[in-house]
């Protein structure tokens, strides 16, 4: 080859291909990404960081925290589950409490049959009705229907060689203990058919999602991190090495999911999380003796600084005297507290949290 320009043009063409694919195409796809509105609120995710947290992002970059910590939660699979929320009511729902007692104890007989069909591993028990109720013709009819359905269920079981356990939990127990997870981590078709079976029997059931993967099981986040989580960041410090735990949702992480065993006596308030993170910055070995995270003691004053607003001193565990966090330490902690993945997005939904069981009616 005699002509340098040919090589130059070829190199330019090769580079342009790679540039178009890996620089321009991502920009076209992601460049217009905007924060997503959170349903039923006026907020968006990700929200703009308040001033102190925005300064903390600079401290995070300047100290090179991203060299050891990632901010990307990984997810292996998305599976589904079926959750029973309420028994609902239909013609075959009977109240086991005596009329006039003011109490209700609804039993949806159709639901018991439907649930037994969905879960062959559970037994099904007879429903015992207080004798006075047997005077009610509706109850008698419902019970008659139930007995017929039980016979049909038995036939179906025999056909499929299903042997139901005679002891252990029964569908009656499951229904009585709501909200109940009927299935977890199953394929979408299975979960959907079960939810349909249950809702057809009059019950209130919902399809739930299960985000799976080691990162999520470790409690590092409720869902995977996606591009939208970073639209407000500059520079975007995703991190590429985990010598420390992932920080994608350190602001909302359950206390026991921190690297070090760490449990609050009482409730987990923002002030306590802040205190924990400040102590960790001052000396990580105070909280996790084996931690290899470098101490950021230079972000703290040993003596009360001669400024007007020195802030509250930081009480340290052990016998050490309290220290005074500098502005940068507080900013860094404020930044860490804005790290959260608890908001579900269209492209990365979070599991709906089960509503606490309704208190038993008196």
């Amino acid at each position: 080859m005699r002509y340098g320009p040919i090589i130059g043009a070829g190199a330019l063409f090769s580079l342009a291909c790679s540039w178009a694919a890996l620089v321009m195409a991502p920009q076209l796809q992601l460049g217009a990404l905007a924060p997503a509105p959170i349903p039923n609120t006026s907020d968006v995710h990700p929200a703009l960081r308040p001033g102190l947290a925005a300064q903390g992002a600079e401290v995070y970059r300047s100290l090179g925290c991203y060299q050891c910590h990632t901010r990307q939660v990984r997810q292996d699979a998305l599976l589904f589950g079926a959750r029973l929320n309420d028994v609902g009511s239909n013609a075959n729902t009977i109240n086991l409490e005596l009329p006039g007692s003011g109490k209700t104890n609804l039993v949806n007989l159709d639901l018991l049959i439907a649930l037994a069909k969905a879960r062959p591993d559970l037994g099904i028990a007879k429903v015992t009705v207080p004798p006075p109720l047997l005077a009610d013709t509706n109850v008698v009819a419902a019970l008659g229907q139930f007995t017929a359905n039980l016979t049909l269920l038995k036939h179906a079981d025999d056909k499929l060689d299903v042997v139901r356990p005679t002891s252990g939990p029964t569908v009656n127990d499951v229904v009585g203990n709501r909200p109940a997870e009927i299935f977890v981590k199953v394929a979408p078709e299975t979960a959907e058919s079960v939810v349909k079976l249950l809702t057809d029997s009059g019950a209130k059931a919902e399809l739930v999602i299960c985000n799976l993967g080691p990162d999520i099981e470790r409690g590092w986040g409720a869902r995977r991190s996606v591009a939208r989580d970073f639209v407000n960041d500059t520079p975007v410090l995703l991190g590429s090495l985990r010598v420390g735990p992932d920080l994608a949702s350190i602001g909302m992480r359950a206390p026991e999911k921190f690297a070090a065993p760490w449990k609050f006596a009482g409730t987990n308030t923002a002030a306590e999380v802040e205190h924990h993170l400040l102590v960790h910055l001052y000396n990580p070995r105070l909280l996790a003796p084996a931690s290899t995270c470098p101490s950021a003691a230079y972000l703290f004053d040993k003596q009360k600084p001669e400024v007007r607003f020195a802030g509250e001193p930081l009480a340290l565990p052990g016998k050490d005297a309290p220290v005074f966090p500098k502005h940068n330490a507080r900013a860094l902690v404020a930044y860490l507290l804005t790290q959260r993945t608890d908001v579900g997005l269209l492209e990365a939904p979070t599991p709906a949290v089960a509503k606490a069981a309704a208190p038993a009616k008196p």
């Binding site: 190199a11 890996l22 470790r218």
Partner: protein
């Protein structure tokens, strides 16, 4: 297309003699080579100090300037810009002058530009230590260091291209293809990345994608091309045979440029899934050009490898560099995907390409170039120091590469299962591997030091020859 290196018959009558060519190279090439080796020593020491902190967190604690998060990027950037690219310029200038049979244009200007390059690297390293790092891998120099860096590069590359244009040997040998491609590729990726990251800031994760794209192009195209330029010049020379199979080389060259730029993004998580998939496929495809190029080198040297290993100090370095290039390409293709995500495995790849593939090839080439430009002999003055440089560099690269890779595999096993404890498995559990890495960086620094001393001896002898006689 040539099958052999240019012979003296084809050179035109106006061609300068070898002595004249070498005289024009002397000042800039020796300056770049010496500063490059000095940065190798400094960068290895910085990386050594950083690696100690990974298992001894109390080491140098309490000072923000030397905390791990600043020391490590300072070390990597010192090795990349101070050592690798700077040495690459020395090799490129020398190859252009030798293969093009032309005197370097503006040797003094090149030396001044190289001086500015060194000042910019120094400013950048101190900028990182002071906390001004940009936060993007391999691009951490703050803007006030990056701009002078780019300006001095522009001068060096412009004069190199003018020299190439004035060559008297019109036929471009394979080495010059690689040099030309790398010299053009680097400013394009650097300006794109700096423009999109530090100037007009692209939004969100596109920044991480652009930074990953830049880092990969720097390692996979620019530094690998300089390595291959060195291999294709010195291997046929060492075995005294023409280059075998030039068609294969040509195919390998174009395929490397076409595919190489697509690798390197296979370990990003918070991006659309097609990006890591495309990159993972490119990681596998890039085996083809690398194999094509290395097979052609092997065909050239086949049968004379053992003999050249014993007789030629440069050849030993080149052989190991070629094996490492094959190894790192295969390892990245096989393991460089989801499994080793977020582990030291990626660190191992960066360090093997910087110190092993490029580093060893460059040190080998300098063991040939430096004595030619100083004493005029074939070998550096001290054979013992040459041996020390080779064995220390070989041990250092293997220790760093194996240490980081094993640590990466351990971390990958921990990351794959939520049952294994993170702190015990992935952090304190890899301390033994990281100690090996520390020793490796120490050996790298020793190798650089041995070469520098040898360089100093050669320069001293050269000065004595010139001035001693007059005295």
């Amino acid at each position: 297309m040539t099958t052999a290196q240019p012979s003296s018959q084809t050179a035109c009558a106006a061609a300068p003699s070898v002595a004249e060519v070498e005289a024009s190279c002397r000042l800039p090439v020796l300056f770049l080579a010496f500063s490059g080796a000095a940065w190798l020593c400094a960068g290895a020491v910085l990386a050594l100090l950083a690696s100690v902190q990974l298992y001894q967190p109390a080491f140098m604690e309490g000072c923000a300037w030397v905390t791990y998060g600043r020391l490590r990027p300072a070390a990597v950037n010192a090795l990349t810009y101070g050592f690798a690219l700077q040495t690459a310029f020395a090799l490129a200038l020398w190859l252009i002058a030798r293969l093009g049979r032309v005197e370097l244009v503006a040797p003094l200007g090149l030396t001044i530009a190289a001086k500015f390059w060194n000042i910019a690297v120094t400013v950048g390293v101190f900028g990182i230590l002071a906390g001004d790092a940009t936060g993007f891998d391999l691009l951490e120099f703050p803007l006030y260091a990056a701009l002078p860096l780019f300006a001095s590069y522009a001068c060096i590359a412009a004069w190199a291209l003018v020299t190439l244009h004035r060559r008297t040997e019109r036929e471009l040998y394979v080495s010059l293809w690689f040099v030309l491609a790398a010299l053009l590729w680097f400013p394009w990726i650097l300006s794109t990345a700096q423009g999109l990251l530090l100037g007009w800031q692209v939004p969100g994760v596109v920044q991480a994608i652009v930074a990953g794209w830049f880092g990969n192009n720097l390692l996979q195209i620019v530094l690998t091309s300089f390595t291959l330029a060195v291999l294709f010049y010195f291997v046929p020379k060492a075995v005294k045979r023409p280059l075998a199979n030039p068609g294969l080389v040509s195919a390998g060259f174009w395929l490397l440029l076409l595919i190489g730029g697509w690798c390197g993004l296979s370990q990003l998580a918070a991006v659309p899934a097609w990006i890591p998939s495309v990159s993972g496929a490119a990681n596998v495809l890039v085996i083809v050009p690398v194999l094509a190029l290395l097979v052609s080198l092997w065909q050239t040297a086949d049968g004379k490898i053992a003999e050249s290993w014993k007789s030629n100090a440069t050849f030993r370095f080149l052989l190991v560099a070629a094996i490492l290039l094959l190894g790192v390409t295969l390892c990245t293709a096989v393991f460089g995907g989801h499994y080793t995500q977020f582990t030291f495995f990626a660190t191992a790849r960066t360090d093997i390409v910087l110190l092993g593939v490029f580093g060893l090839a460059a040190l080998g080439a300098l063991h040939y170039i430096v004595p030619r430009l100083t004493t005029g002999e074939d070998e550096l003055p001290s054979e013992g120091l040459s041996d020390l440089a080779f064995w220390a560099a070989l041990f250092g690269v293997l220790a760093v590469g194996i240490g980081f890779s094993l640590a990466g595999f351990k971390q990958a096993a921990v990351g794959a299962s939520a049952e294994s404890k993170f702190l015990e498995g992935a952090v304190t559990g890899v301390a033994s591997n990281l100690k090996l890495v520390t020793v490796g960086y120490g050996a790298m620094a020793v190798a650089a030091l041995a070469f520098l001393v040898n360089f100093g001896l050669a320069a001293r002898r050269c000065c004595l020859d010139c001035c001693g006689g007059a005295r």
